[in-house]
């Protein structure tokens, strides 16, 4: 099963290595991982797509929570959410094909971000299905190169990914 997880972490060096190490040490799979600073520059959000059964997912969530630099873990399994991905795709575009590709790009509300005599580089954002459909349509033209961000996700409605407030206590 495929899962999207958001992880709110300290924006510090080494945190990515801790998260990646947690997955690799247990043989868990990372399908994609996207990370950048939040509105609060001391925090970053990682969006991780992983696969595994319920049992593995439970361990992943618990292990992530256990990391000292992890502040919050959101499993989107039971949350209504929006997920989007961006891709940059370089496709062969010559003669009459150029017009056809341009039209397809418009239909998918993408942008041509670079033009060369024999290729177009197209940027497109969307959910998994839309991107899959677009790539399928482009395939016959000849895809030369493809770079994708992997999805990022956010809950729908008023829900936000925020820090749980708590007090530091010294239990020594």
């Amino acid at each position: 099963m495929r899962h999207i997880i958001s992880v709110l972490v300290e924006n510090e060096f080494g945190v990515l290595a801790r998260v990646a190490g947690l997955f690799s040490a247990r043989g868990f799979n990372i399908e994609s991982l996207c990370v950048a600073e939040t509105m609060d520059p001391t925090l970053s959000i990682m969006t991780i797509v992983t696969t595994g059964n319920e049992f593995i997912l439970e361990q992943i969530l618990k292990q992530l929570n256990k990391l000292i630099n992890v502040i919050k873990v959101v499993d989107f399994k039971n949350v209504d959410y929006v997920a989007r991905e961006m891709i940059l795709v370089k496709v062969a575009a010559e003669n009459e094909k150029r017009e056809e590709i341009l039209r397809l790009t418009e239909i998918f509300r993408g942008n041509i971000v670079d033009v060369a005599p024999k290729t177009y580089t197209i940027m497109i954002t969307g959910d998994e299905e839309k991107i899959k459909a677009f790539l399928n349509l482009l395939k016959p033209f000849g895809i030369k190169d493809l770079v994708r961000t992997g999805p990022i996700a956010i809950p729908r409605g008023d829900k936000i990914i925020k820090i749980k407030e708590g007090k530091g206590e010294d239990h020594g």
Partner: protein
């Protein structure tokens, strides 16, 4: 606030944490701190002979005293030598803080002389670790390190301090309080879950308490005793849990697992309710996991949520501190005693059944006139009455100790349970002796294990630490040999080992050496050794082919034990 160097701040934080002892080894990168420590007679500085031993000693100090163990080592090889010690402490949840010094910040990543990425290397075997890049962060990071090491599920924390940070100046204050927004361990067990657990318990007829190291680290031994006695529930311990329940108590079943007692393994197998507290269903304890407690419901209390439902599906998970959970359970029992009337009636027949197993298949060995290791350990118990601090190495010596020494009190066994580190016991016993100079500290070793950190004899002699090492010398790596005997048609590949004359070795180091070759010498020799004020090796030539029984072969169910 006036300006101080990083090294001065280092000492300041140690004092604010009440550190009175550290285990260390110097090098180029430690020099600024080392120089500062020469003006600190209030901090005992035990210089070892190998950095691995510094960590094991800090670990032994921590296990025996309950305080955080501290070590300081230099960069590069000094730091990498600590890895086995750190991994050992990590697996057994022991609170230690390891300070490694590092090359100057400008050289980090340059393959500088004596540089190693120790933060990267120890990331998977520490609870947390830090590289201090700016002296301003040093006081906060050090305070956080101690806080993380001793709270929640305890564990090792490493702090890597570059040499230029130890000489840099700052006026930053040492913080009084620690606040880490990503780390707030949950101590209070959920009351609803505890009530559900007690309801399930009141309906059970064959309950077993299966308790581990969590009882020791949360100081819950007296609460466990009270709870078990009130409800007369039999108790089995994991290796890490030994001493958490009196080994001579009628409700005690002995250790469970691969070399557990017949009664403990049968009780688990026949139980209808397992109450696991501070134990993590390790493979050595459970045997074949699908056949572990096949008829039982499981209540699991643990401070670490990742331990729950990791190896085995749990019916009632309770995240929290063992001590608080046991207190709540006693309160609920006392408030709702009436609900337990049937429970008390039916538990009698459970005890009768257990008694049959205990009487039918007690821990035993063949007294054939040869010198048996079990006999030696029984004698050590007799002479110390369970009052000594016992360290073990790993292998047969460890299992015989777990079986035949009755641990009465918590914090009296120091053993590498999770990682199974040979060479742990001797330095750990040195650490415990530093914590308790007046107590009798004994390392029960094998001739293989003792050779893994034998250089620490020099440390014991230099610092007048009169630890006793009883070497169960069989000329083999005994546990390997046992597996080869049982499962590899006695092909003793690599397990027959040469050992030096341990008496002469001890004497060469300035310690005392003694040798025992027959049963009738054992008692007198041990008495003499235990009264001796010097570090002492007792080289006991045991029957070389003695095996540890009972034994559950790897991958078999607990009930399928090989017996004597």
């Amino acid at each position: 606030m006036h300006k101080r160097t990083g090294a001065q701040i280092f000492v300041e934080v140690l004092r604010s944490e009440g550190v009175d002892t550290m285990f260390c080894y110097p090098g180029g990168a430690t020099l600024n701190i080392t120089d500062c420590l020469c003006r600190c007679p209030d901090i005992k500085q035990i210089v070892v002979r190998h950095e691995q031993a510094a960590v094991h000693a800090a670990d032994g100090y921590a296990r025996a005293s309950g305080r955080v163990g501290v070590c300081l080592v230099t960069s590069g090889p000094g730091a990498t030598n600590t890895v086995t010690g750190i991994a050992t402490a990590y697996m057994d949840s022991v609170p230690i803080v390891v300070f490694s010094c590092q090359v100057n910040t400008s050289l980090i990543g340059n393959d500088a002389f004596q540089e190693a990425d120790i933060v990267g290397i120890t990331r998977p075997c520490t609870k947390h670790n830090y590289l201090v890049k700016d002296v301003k962060d040093l006081p906060r990071i050090m305070k956080e390190a101690f806080h993380i090491a001793r709270t929640g599920r305890p564990g090792p924390v490493l702090v890597d301090i570059p040499k230029d940070v130890t000489s840099a100046l700052t006026d930053v204050k040492v913080p009084d309080k620690v606040y880490i927004r990503g780390y707030q361990p949950n101590y209070n067990p959920h009351v609803g879950q505890i009530k559900r657990a007690m309801k399930l318990l009141s309906q059970s007829k064959r309950p077993v308490l299966y308790t581990g190291g969590g009882i020791i680290s949360s100081s819950a031994a007296s609460e466990l005793l009270k709870f078990a006695e009130l409800l007369s529930i039999p108790v089995t311990n994991t290796l890490m849990g030994l001493g958490g329940f009196p080994g001579n108590h009628p409700l005690f079943l002995g250790m469970l697992g691969m070399h557990g007692t017949y009664a403990a393994n049968m009780a688990i197998t026949e139980s209808d309710l397992i109450i696991a507290i501070g134990a993590r269903f390790d493979d050595r304890a459970t045997g074949k996991i699908d056949e572990f407690a096949p008829r039982a419901k499981i209540i699991h209390i643990d401070i670490d949520p990742t331990s729950i439902s990791k190896n085995i599906k749990v019916d009632i998970p309770i995240v929290g501190d063992s001590k608080l959970a046991l207190k709540r359970m006693v309160e609920i029992y006392e408030a709702e005693k009436a609900d337990f009337a049937d429970f008390h009636k039916s538990i009698k027949s459970w005890h009768e059944e257990i008694e049959k197993w205990k009487k039918g298949y007690p821990l035993t060995y063949n007294r054939d006139g040869s010198l048996k290791p079990q006999f030696v350990i029984e004698k050590i118990y007799e002479l110390t009455k369970g009052e000594a601090i016992i360290a073990t190495e790993v292998g047969q010596n460890q299992m015989w100790t777990a079986q035949f020494y009755k641990f009465i009190k918590p914090r009296t066994i120091l053993t590498s349970g999770g990682l199974g580190t040979m060479g742990y016991g001797f330095p750990a016993s040195i650490g415990a002796q530093v914590a308790f100079p007046e107590k009798l500290v004994i390392d029960i070793a094998g001739d293989g294990s003792i050779q893994m950190n034998i250089q620490e004899l020099a440390t014991a002699v230099q610092f007048n630490l009169p630890v006793k090492v009883v070497i169960l010398n069989n000329g083999y790596l005994g546990m390997v040999r046992q597996w080869q005997e049982l499962f590899y048609e006695k092909r003793y590949t690599w397990s027959r080992i040469y050992a030096p004359d341990f008496v002469k070795v001890a004497e060469a180091y300035g310690a005392q050496g003694m040798r025992v070759t027959s049963e009738n010498e054992v008692e007198d020799c041990l008495k003499e050794a235990f009264n001796n004020k010097k570090p002492t090796f007792v080289d006991v030539h045991i029957n070389p082919e003695e095996c540890v029984y009972p034994m559950v072969p790897a991958g078999a169910a607990l009930k399928d034990m090989l017996l004597v």
